[in-house]
């Protein structure tokens, strides 16, 4: 168990060394080198004993390095560690140089990559791994020699792992930017229309779920996906040159009619927000809103929206065309009109209705009147 832990730690240690160099492994390594000098022997010795018992399939570079150290005396182990440190530094610089020069080459290789895989990949790896391979090949060979299994197999496996590490790190460095660009271009921007904001807010606040478990009810908005780039055909038409077709709009607007739940929710909100009045002023405001209290200064014509002029109230002769021109009925109706013209409480509409009622009444009694 302890051995495996060591291996894991060693593996991480080594992968950081060999992978995309960051400051971390450097910092990670230096205390090891400086502080753990007196302890390294013991740790290495313990590693010796542990790693002999570990599984043979563990192809970790750390194991390789330590086992390389174990093959020699403790002093040489220290020197090897220092040497490894140096290797790391040199490797970093070389890597940076390589990367600066090889960016273009790698881009080209990328384009050609899907066409021909094997040889070019290995070529890439060989190109990249140039600064590494001499040192690590030695280490790999040392490991292979130390392990009882087939030396060549282990060597090749270790080197392949190294290559893979590098490839993945390099790919990630360049490939991620492209992937992000793709993702962002695919993303769409949702816009809220103010007409439906109320519904949206209500759906957001409420924890209601549809059959699918989706919260937002008007799903047709998802179909209206706007691109991040603006185009000429996107947006509401002003209908300056073409006749406005209002049918589809109305159809769309009438679809989300307020459901019972919406009404209930609105009532709930109204009930909650309607707090009792804190003082007399608020009470009076509430009464004025309800209509209990009049608005001051008092307007005598509140509720009376009679837009008619005075002559429409007084000169009502024109409505007497349906009646006979002579006789008691005419006499009677003229009296009625005289009375209506003096009435300030009725609107013109009501007066006309009054006269029309009489007209209808006398129409019904016409046959009766003929007998008389």
């Amino acid at each position: 168990m302890w051995g495996r832990v060591r291996v894991w730690g060693g593996g991480g240690f080594a992968s950081r060394l060999l992978g995309a160099a960051a400051a971390a492994p450097r910092l990670h390594c230096s205390p090891h080198s400086k502080v753990q000098k007196p302890f390294s022997t013991s740790s290495v010795l313990s590693d010796e004993k542990d790693e002999c018992t570990t599984s043979k399939g563990s192809t970790t570079e750390g194991a390789s390095k330590r086992q390389k150290g174990t093959a020699e005396t403790p002093k040489q182990k220290l020197l090897d560690i220092i040497g490894n440190m140096k290797v790391e530094v040199s490797y970093r610089k070389k890597l940076q140089e390589l990367k600066a020069s090889e960016n273009k080459k790698q881009a080209m290789n990328r384009l050609e990559g899907p066409d021909s895989e094997g040889p070019q990949r290995t070529a890439e790896s060989i190109q990249r791994g140039k600064p590494l391979n001499p040192e690590l090949v030695k280490a790999a060979s040392a490991v292979a020699s130390s392990l009882p299994l087939n030396k060549k197999q282990t060597e090749s496996e270790l080197l392949a792992q190294l290559r893979r590490h590098e490839e993945t790190t390099d790919k990630q460095k360049k490939g991620e930017t492209i992937n992000i660009r793709n993702v962002i271009s695919e993303m769409t921007v949702k816009r809220q229309s103010p007409a439906q904001r109320g519904v949206r807010i209500s759906s957001r606040i409420s924890l209601e779920l549809d059959d699918d478990g989706q919260r937002i009810r008007p799903e047709r908005f998802l179909s209206q996906s706007f691109d991040s780039r603006r185009s000429l055909k996107v947006g509401k038409r002003l209908n300056i040159f073409t006749k406005a077709s209002t049918e589809p709009e109305h159809a769309l607007k009438t679809v989300p009619s307020p459901t019972i739940w919406d009404l209930e929710f609105a009532k709930e909100i109204a009930a909650i927000t309607a707090q009792p009045p804190r003082n007399g002023f608020e009470e009076m405001i509430q009464w004025t809103k309800e209509g209990i209290l009049w608005e001051f200064p008092i307007d005598n014509e509140v509720g009376m929206d009679d837009d008619a002029e005075f002559h429409e109230h007084i000169f009502l002769d024109k409505h007497l065309e349906g009646f006979p021109k002579e006789g008691p009925i005419r006499h009677f109706m003229e009296l009625v009109i005289c009375g209506l013209s003096k009435n300030p409480y009725l609107s013109v509409k009501q007066k006309i209705e009054h006269i029309e009622w009489f007209e209808k009444y006398f129409e019904e009694k016409k046959e009766f009147l003929q007998e008389i």
Partner: protein, 126 residues
């Protein structure tokens, strides 16, 4: 039947308003309810009654027409007559001793006035 339905609806529509004090959801008694019905009907038939009466109380129109009008007005529902309305107390449905200005019976009026809940009313002393 229709009247009952209207009455039930009127009773139900009185929602529990957040007002302090007593909340009355029913009419005090059946007499008050009947009075309410009469008032409603009187309001509905007021125009028609006025016009038919204008024909009746006439010296110009022939008498036969006026007799027909008499029969017509008699055919209207009895409760549509405004003279059947009786001003009862609004709170207790007391038929007598009701002050028109406050629509309250004398006992209720006195109760409220003594508790200073009637505006502008004070115990007389001269």
């Amino acid at each position: 039947m229709a009247a009952l339905g209207w009455v039930l609806r009127a009773a139900r529509q009185v929602l529990p308003s957040p007002c302090p004090g007593q909340v009355r959801t029913y009419y005090v008694d059946w007499r008050m309810l009947r009075d309410v019905k009469r008032r409603r009907l009187a309001y509905e038939y007021a125009d028609e009654r006025l016009r038919i009466n204008a024909i009746r109380k006439n010296t110009i129109l022939p008498k036969e027409l006026q007799e027909v009008a008499d029969k017509e007005i008699a055919a209207l529902p009895r409760d549509s007559c405004p003279s059947r309305i009786h001003n009862r107390c609004v709170l207790t449905s007391r038929p007598r001793g009701v002050r028109r200005r406050w629509r309250l019976s004398r006992i209720v009026f006195r109760h409220f006035a003594d508790h200073a809940q009637v505006s502008g009313v004070q115990r007389a002393m001269w």
